[in-house]
Symmetry: C2
Subunit: 357 residues, 2 copies
């Protein structure tokens, strides 16, 4: 393993000079720079990240802004775990992360959490920009203080974010279309259930539906796609009759696609005998959804690996801060297909981490 010292000796200069050309810090004569660069290449020198980050020791602070989770809205637990795991790992690099949470249905809570966050004077921010108007305010403040930030899970266009880490919703919808398509026979009909409206994830949900519809338009244009829409977050819980009536009226519906993470809520209110002849496709591997999958009620879940999203957000911004590594503007996370037969192999890392804590 070649070190900076080795290079320096070879080039008859000091380690400092080698360091200067390694980091393009200037102040080196063209001659020696050339010479050093040649030796660098020849010996295939790679900076020792370990020693490098130890020497840096900038003591950086990251702040994270994400929705709270509880038993009703358990989705955000998974990214939170990923964030925690990454936070622990980057701690060795002298980076510490603080998480601030807010109520995903309350814009004010979003702003308040941010106010607390900004008081800690972070060097970078990782956030889920749920409310678009309030996000504008937030970004303005960040821009003024020159604090870099990245979005994850939810994307919002028109900001100079470092990058977006998350699912491509439209493509996810197409995939849902493919899977639903495989579940049905010619002549069968489909139902899309939108569990609520005008909420933060409207954009993603909307895109998924668009992709879904597009898939069928391209492949089997004759397939009929029904839609049921609920206005309030909890309406699905109470409005089982509506769904059941609808299914009775449209007996050809053989597949239901729920473009949010609430497919388990939907299947809870559908009558047993109806359920048995309908296949369900949903999103996200919340524990409730996994339960439904295990029981065979849900056939497919499309996972966006939200644990990884959280994890990757932290590591990405850390690499940017510590090693000036510019991320791609968009980092799409995999569209993972989860079934009863493979779910247990899919989230082992996440489970392992949850158990440890």
């Amino acid at each position: 393993m070649t070190t900076i010292k080795d290079i320096a000796k070879e080039a008859n200069v000091s380690a400092g000079t080698v360091d200067r050309v390694l980091h393009n810090r200037g102040g080196v004569s063209p001659k020696t720079e050339e010479k050093i660069k040649k030796i660098l290449k020849q010996k295939n020198f790679k900076i020792n990240m370990i020693a490098s980050s130890l020497a840096m020791k900038k003591h950086l602070k990251i702040a994270t802004l994400i929705p709270q989770f509880d038993h009703q809205n358990i989705f955000w637990k998974s990214p939170y775990s990923g964030i925690q795991k990454a936070s622990q790992e980057v701690n060795s690099y002298g980076v510490e992360n603080h998480v601030f949470t807010f109520d995903q249905f309350n814009p004010k809570s979003y702003l308040n959490a941010f106010k607390k966050l900004i008081k800690t004077e972070p060097d970078a921010v990782v956030m889920v920009p749920i409310f678009s108007k309030e996000t504008s305010e937030i970004i303005e403040i960040l821009n003024k203080s020159d604090i870099p930030y990245l979005f994850f899970n939810v994307d919002l266009k028109g900001f100079n974010k470092l990058c977006y880490i998350g699912q491509k919703s439209y493509d996810a919808g197409i995939l849902a279309g493919k899977l639903s398509h495989l579940c049905i026979s010619p002549g069968d009909e489909l139902l899309v259930i939108l569990t609520r409206k005008n909420l933060y994830d409207h954009e993603a949900v909307h895109e998924r539906v668009k992709g879904f519809v597009h898939y069928f338009k391209e492949n089997t244009p004759k397939t009929k796609i029904h839609q049921l829409q609920f206005e309030q977050p909890d309406e699905v819980e109470t409005g089982g009759e509506i769904i059941n009536e609808f299914l009775t009226k449209n007996p050809n519906i053989k597949n239901i696609m729920v473009p949010s993470s609430r497919v388990s809520h939907v299947c809870k209110v559908i009558e047993q005998k109806k359920l048995s002849q309908i296949k369900l496709v949903g999103f996200d591997t919340t524990s409730q959804n996994i339960e439904a999958l295990k029981k065979g009620i849900v056939t497919f879940l499309i996972s966006q690996k939200s644990f990884n999203q959280g994890y990757k957000s932290i590591t990405t911004i850390t690499n940017y801060l510590v090693h000036k590594e510019m991320p791609k503007n968009e980092i799409p996370t995999p569209l993972e297909i989860i079934t009863k037969e493979n779910f247990e192999f899919s989230h082992s890392e996440e489970r392992k981490y949850s158990m440890e804590n």
Copy 2:
């Protein structure tokens, strides 16, 4: 961030003493040990891995024994890439890895490669134990020299390996069953094509078929499953007629499952019009298979993320060597379902790495 020094100051001892209790190195009076341990817990002290590994600098050597890849057998390219990536990363930890390859169809080549390998006196070995008899010889030598080793991708029972990293073939077969099941209608028949026999991967292939058959026995016992078997590695290439004839004789076959990574070879020899009404399920995301997926010829591929297998093998054994971290005896890799609609989001890391090199 609390350091050893902080702890030492708090306990009125020197850093050396703290270090001693941290590593159970003995030579510390019970009293001070107790005191230090208390402060350690209270301050939630975590060793800084960065500094730790920098200070260790043990200069360890890993050796890897895997099959070669070429255009005919491209499967092994992917684990090789994963191994290369991990090797680069652990290099900072003072660990270097050397790869030795052999002809996967030639036991002698396997032994020869190992002989070369063992001459380099490695501190640990990562290997794919393809030939069972020869592996016994190899392991005996390793045991004598007290060299730890792990298997990946192919498992062999009865050895005191550190761990096995790879797919659970039986479960993969069950999943293949589920996917095939979704592709067909009641009354349709299935065909399993075994592209060769008595070769190294026989065990895995066999298990996959067993899982596949089991799935249908459990779910739709009436479904008829045909099998076609070829004896020689390349026989499929030439024996298209046999398959086509078989399909003509059994027009109810609507799904073909190929339990090896050679589904693309199979679909190359099937007549176009037959192909159009048959859905194919295969294994592994070789570039040829991905091609067939893109064209819509293959419906599902089950990926074992062999890139990750290679990557994880190296990092696992490194953690064992450097940090004495004992791995679980079995690390199953995910059963990833790949379709035309999601393949591009699935192997981004691997692609990124291939491009860089």
